[in-house]
Amino acid sequence: MLSLIVFLPIIAGLVILVVPASQKQIIRIVSLVAALAQGVLAVLIWRQYDPTMAGIVAAPGGSPVGSFQLIERIPWITLDLGSFGPLTIEYFLGVDGLSITMVLLTALISIIGILSSWPIQKQVKGYFILFNLLSTAMMGCFVALDFFLFYVFWELMLLPMYFLIGIWGGPNREYAAIKFFLYTLFGSVFMLLVMIGLYFSVVDPLTGHHTFSLVAMADQANYVKGTILGPGSEQWRYIAFAVLFVGFAIKVPMFPFHTWLPDAHVEAPTPISVILAGVLLKLGTYGMMRINFPLFPEVFQAGMYVIGVFGAINIIYGAFCALAQQDLKKMVAYSSISHMGYVLLGLAAGNSEGMLGALYQMFNHGTITAMLFLLVGVIYDRAHSRQIDKFGGLASYMPVYAGVVTIAWFASLGLPGLSGFISEAFVFVGAFREPITRPIAMVSVLGIVFGAAYLLWSLQRMFLGKRKPDALYELEVDSHGHEHIHFHDWKGKLDLDARELTMLVPLAIIIIALGIYPMPVMGLLTTSINKLVQVLAPVAISAVH
């Protein structure tokens, strides 16, 4: 089942491979069908998933696959390394509370992405093949439970992303693509080192051999004493944690490593921005929750404060940078830096509320930011510009668009009743609960105000007031005295058309529904999160009360 959902897009890609490049419509429809099927599978998985099973780590003495679900585990690569014993790399898939939401999100965003790539005219065939490759890689990352497999998918993601930005991107695309590629590669190289180190430090209790299985790695009992990352070599464990953390933080992106994001977003075509912000950024924090923290819990305990500080920096700094942007898309990009900061903060809290808020924030940020980028794309299609000051008064002329934008913007600034609020709220609840991160939380609450500031300001400059004198559209008054506008060389419907609505309305519904009653998603997480917290902080738990 998981294999199916992972490799469905690849199959679609192969089908597209045989479709002649001239048959653009067929290519699009094939991809769309694949994405929809993926969505159906995701829903089936969601239905099958039993939220009472924790996952995260194998119960001591229990089954080697722990309480993971929909397990698929077969030996993939097996070589005999002589003195090192057999090298076994498994094809090991499974879901738990951490993955399931991300799987749902990925399926959803893939559908949205395919829909929003409909207008792409340049090398449609190659585009959709790469796109399908990308969505396979993302899905694979989220369900892989073998570190090596995870790494393979992780690297597999870079290539299509690189080309999708570098070929279908904006004027400065090569620079952005290279930057993205090198940055992420930089991170993943270190990941590789740590991965190998872990391999030689962990022994699967059943087979007695070294293993890449994350489930085994997550259990500190499986670390061999005296090995490089085993107990007894703390300094190496600290280094490994830091290195791994940097690797994931680049994807998040965390403050010093974030500069690839605005460039990539500004250059990337709309669907790619949607994918990038909707799913790829989550991989960073997902990796932290799945790999980085559970494998080095004691280092995490020591590093909470630092992570929290970086989270706060992301929040405030991203908000301020967004406040200064002229390019709408850049502003949204910085806003997602700021919002990923909430995730980091929640993770830093290390308690259930914080982690839950963080994971839920990952999901919500996926949907909300997807919506934001789609909306940016809408206006960019019409005006061929994203300069905030080049608009004004749009609300009078594009009421539906303005309405949807209002929903998305307010969701992004964390208005109660929209899903973003709940996650941010619980991030703060968690972060404030821990005495360590309490001051950080008190500082980063400012992010709420500045987030509202830049969003409302851009909303006002673009949609409210009157048409700016140098606006990018013509104003004309018809015989009834009603004002209309039209953009230069835009033939389509002025307000949102059917395709755009089919993309935006479901997202809006999800955002509102999850804002009012979050349990459908949150209920999937709680057990796993509580388990994760136990794994992370056996000490801290006894400390509280």
Binding site: K179, L182, P256, H258, T259, W260, Y317, F320, C321, L323, A324, Q325, N351, S352, E353, L356, A395, S396, F410, L415, P416, G417, F421, A425, F428, V429, F432, R433, R438, A441, M442, V445, L446, I448, V449, F450, A452, A453, Y454, L456, W457, Q460, F463, L464, G465, K466, Y517, P518, M519, M522, T526, N530, V533, Q534, A537, I541, S542, A543, V544, H545
Partner: protein, 751 residues
């Protein structure tokens, strides 16, 4: 099985939401843009609320009445370190809730009705009712919710609806600015409130009022008492934002950019009162220090905004500042501990201020969106209904006896006096002093307003044309009030659907509605039903100090906590006289007692203030003994200071707004040049290295290759001389070779 009241209250909650949903999607398809939907649904909600009110207030007339219902909203499962953790949402109905519910829905219904006339013909007519619907929904949510989390959610939703309604004429830049300003200012207050909530949650892992209070009462608050005070003050910040208290008061006057019914509903009666309501909800956990802060902020706000109101020209701005000032009164009342008086004032103020705003709306409507009082005048004949209701409400606001305003304001001032005495005078007398000063000025500027608007000659023609055209157009915007003639036009009374709300609200501003005794609200049903709850913090205070100190000192501290014995005895006698409940906490008991004791001094003082204020208004504007303009000239700096609202906007703009913009610019520059610069720098370094490497490769490694190529080439060039391409040369070679063979052969022979 839910209590029938709960079911009713849920209906009250959801009906306005339904109206919002219907109208936001279908307003264009419905006849009359569906205003009847809004009015009908909210009216139904009001009917339900009235039923609740009847059952709660009239049927069981019981101060301790309380019905609660809750459901699990979030289930966190078995949280490590906490155990099973759920976030519950719920509804609590007690007397205060019932009264607020009735008040909110009543005013909302009236405003709906009024808007059918006022907003007539606006292109976004239907959407206006939709916004009113969502506002009513979230306001009722605030009233009903039984925990901090849901009240925070509705709190922000109220902010949203206020944002939408202020910006209803969003094509006006002023409106767009105002809505943004309102939302952001409220956000600042909200983060304070949120932090307060976080402090409480981090201790008790619950958001419910009940649980929190019980936990505090049980001394489970594990942090220092300072944190508790901080929590109180932070929660109060939410009220500072919503109720436009200093220093976050700046948004409310600008919010008058919204349509006048909105000003009446949101920015006078209900939303701004929500802050006070919220503080009342959390009143019991406010430590004395927190209460002092609250009292002083309230008093200062009341005074400051009153001074500002004196000099404003815009009819709505005057009312706005008077609203701020009255809210200051309520906050002051809460701060000094006269809880029920403050809430009483909240209720009465809601009615007469709504009436005033709707009246001003009627005037503006009649004057074709003329808002400047300088160009009004002489309207009392033309608009008798408006005039009468407006004046009644004015008197109520000024606090004339026989009006509702008198009862509540007097109670607050009495409380202030009592508070000052209990706290031991000195600086604390500032609080009542500010209160009374504000009372004077309230009377004065309301008198001024009434006179300018209704009496004298019509001054419409005095208006400078260009200014006139300007803001008239601004106010007009898109709505199709066809004729643009701003000369003399016929001012006529407003239609019935705008008159009726005025009449109802004016009626509700009379003392008899609230209390049989025109001089003592304490005898009224409100004061009986809504009584100051016993505080829960003093006990924890004692517990903390007892825990932290040795027993005898702790005992001493407790003794000091009761300031001196005679007050304690007085408090005891106070109980016996049968006013209000028994207070465990000595301080609270004393304040209650002193309040009661100061009842009559307060009446005398405030009546005196009233006379002074209205008298001055008469002297200045009616008999013209003092020419206001000359006076303004003679005290120009003061006048300007007041006229420019103490320059708060300018100060904030210069500091916070400019500051944060500057920071954002700096950080953006930092991001683009330093951070990204470092990244690109590293990239450049690598590229440079790559170039160097490439150079080595080119000149050394490749050099060797090229060298061989060169040698081959040169030798080749040499040999090419031989390679003449002539057969003969080759033949020559052959011959030479043959001769060489001969030489070899001969050498062989010689051997």
């Amino acid at each position: 099985m839910m209590h029938s009241l709960i079911q009713l209250s849920i209906a009250v909650l959801l009906l306005p939401l339904l109206s919002f949903v219907v109208l936001i999607f279908f307003n264009r398809r419905l006849p009359r843009m569906g205003d009847f939907v809004g009015v009908g649904l909210v009216g139904t909600a009001f009917a339900c609320a009235l039923t609740i009110f009847w059952q709660v207030v009239v049927q069981h007339y019981d101060p301790a009445f309380r019905v609660a219902w809750e459901f699990t909203w979030l289930d966190f499962g078995n949280v490590p370190g906490v155990g099973p953790l759920q976030v519950k949402m719920g509804i609590v109905i007690d007397n205060l809730t019932a009264i607020m519910l009735a008040m909110v829905t009543l005013i909302s219904t009236l405003v709906h009705l009024y808007s059918t006339g006022y907003m007539q013909g606006d292109p976004k007519y239907g959407r206006f009712f939709a916004y009113l619907g969502i506002f009513t929904f979230s306001m009722i949510g605030i009233v009903l919710s039984d925990n901090l989390f849901s009240i925070y959610m509705f709190w922000e939703l109220v902010g949203l609806s206020s944002y939408l309604l202020i910006g209803f004429y969003f094509y006006k830049d002023s409106a767009a600015d105002a809505q943004k300003k309102a939302f952001l200012t409220n956000r600042i207050g909200d983060i304070g409130m949120w932090l307060g909530i976080l402090i409480l949650y981090s201790q008790f892992h619950t958001f419910g009022y009940r649980e929190i209070f019980e936990n505090i009462a049980a001394g489970k608050f594990n942090m220092s008492n300072g944190w508790l005070t901080a929590a109180g003050i932070l929660l109060f910040m939410g009220c500072v934002g919503k109720s436009a208290q200093f220093p976050l008061h700046v948004w409310l006057p600008d919010a008058m950019e919204g349509p006048t019914p909105v000003s009446a509903l949101i920015h006078a009666a209900t939303m701004v009162a929500a802050g006070v309501y919220f503080v009342a909800r959390i009143f019991v956990l406010l430590t004395p220090d927190a209460l002092h802060v609250i009292a002083f902020i309230g008093a200062f706000t009341a005074f400051m905004s009153a001074t500002i109101a004196i000099t404003q020209h815009d009819i709505k701005r005057v009312l706005a500042y008077s609203t701020v000032s009255q809210l200051g009164y309520m906050v002051l009342g809460l701060g000094v501990g006269s809880y029920s008086a403050a809430l009483f004032h909240l209720l009465t103020h809601a009615f007469f201020k709504a009436c005033l705003f709707l009246g001003s709306g009627a005037i503006i409507h009649a004057m074709h969106h003329e808002q400047d009082m300088r160009w009004m005048g002489g309207l009392y004949k033309k608009m008798p209904w408006t005039f009468v209701t407006f004046s009644i409400a004015t008197l109520a606001l000024a606090g004339l006896p026989l009006t509702s305003g008198f009862l509540s304001k007097d109670a607050i001032l009495a409380g202030a006096l009592g508070f000052a005495q209990v706290e031991g005078g000195g600086i604390y007398y500032l609080v009542p002093a500010f209160g009374f000063a504000a009372a004077v000025m309230t009377a004065f500027y309301m008198g001024r307003q009434v006179w300018l608007v209704f009496f004298g000659e019509s001054r419409t023609h005095l208006k400078p044309a260009e200014e006139h055209g300007h803001d008239a157009h601004a106010a007009h915007g898109h709505d199709d009030h066809g004729h643009e003639d701003h000369g003399h036009h016929e001012v006529h009374e407003v239609p019935w659907n705008m008159r009726l709300p005025l009449v109802i609200l004016a009626t509700l501003s009379v003392f008899i509605v609230f209390s049989p005794d025109p001089l003592d609200g304490g005898k009224g049903w409100f004061m009986h039903l809504v009584q100051t709850p016993a505080t829960v913090v003093a006990s924890t205070e004692a517990a903390h100090e007892a825990a932290s100190l040795h027993a005898p000192e702790a005992g001493k501290l407790l003794a000091e906590a009761h300031t001196d014995n005679q007050h304690v005895e007085a408090a005891a006698t106070h109980q016996t006289e049968g006013h209000g409940p028994v207070y465990a906490d000595p301080r609270q008991a004393e304040i209650a007692h002193m309040t009661h004791a100061n009842h009559f001094p307060a009446i005398q003082l405030s009546s005196l203030m009233l006379v002074i204020g209205i008298g001055m208004a008469f002297i200045v504007y009616v008999f013209r003994i003092i020419d206001p303009d000359k006076t303004a000239h003679s005290i120009r700096p003061l006048y300007l200071y007041s006229f420019n609202k103490w320059y708060w906007d300018e100060i904030y703009d210069a500091t916070f707004i400019k500051g944060s913009m500057l920071i954002s610019k700096i950080l953006a520059w930092f991001d683009a040049n330093i951070v990204d610069g470092i990244v690109n720098g590293i990239a450049t370094i690598f590229r440079k290295f790559a170039f160097a490497n490439g150079g080595f490769d080119k000149y050394v490694v490749d050099g060797l290759v090229n060298f061989t190529a060169f040698t081959v080439q040169t030798t080749g060039a040499v040999f090419r001389k031989i390679q003449t391409g002539k057969v003969q040369t080759y033949l020559l070679m052959v011959v030479v070779a043959v001769l060489a063979y001969f030489a070899f052969y001969i050498a062989q022979l010689i051997k």
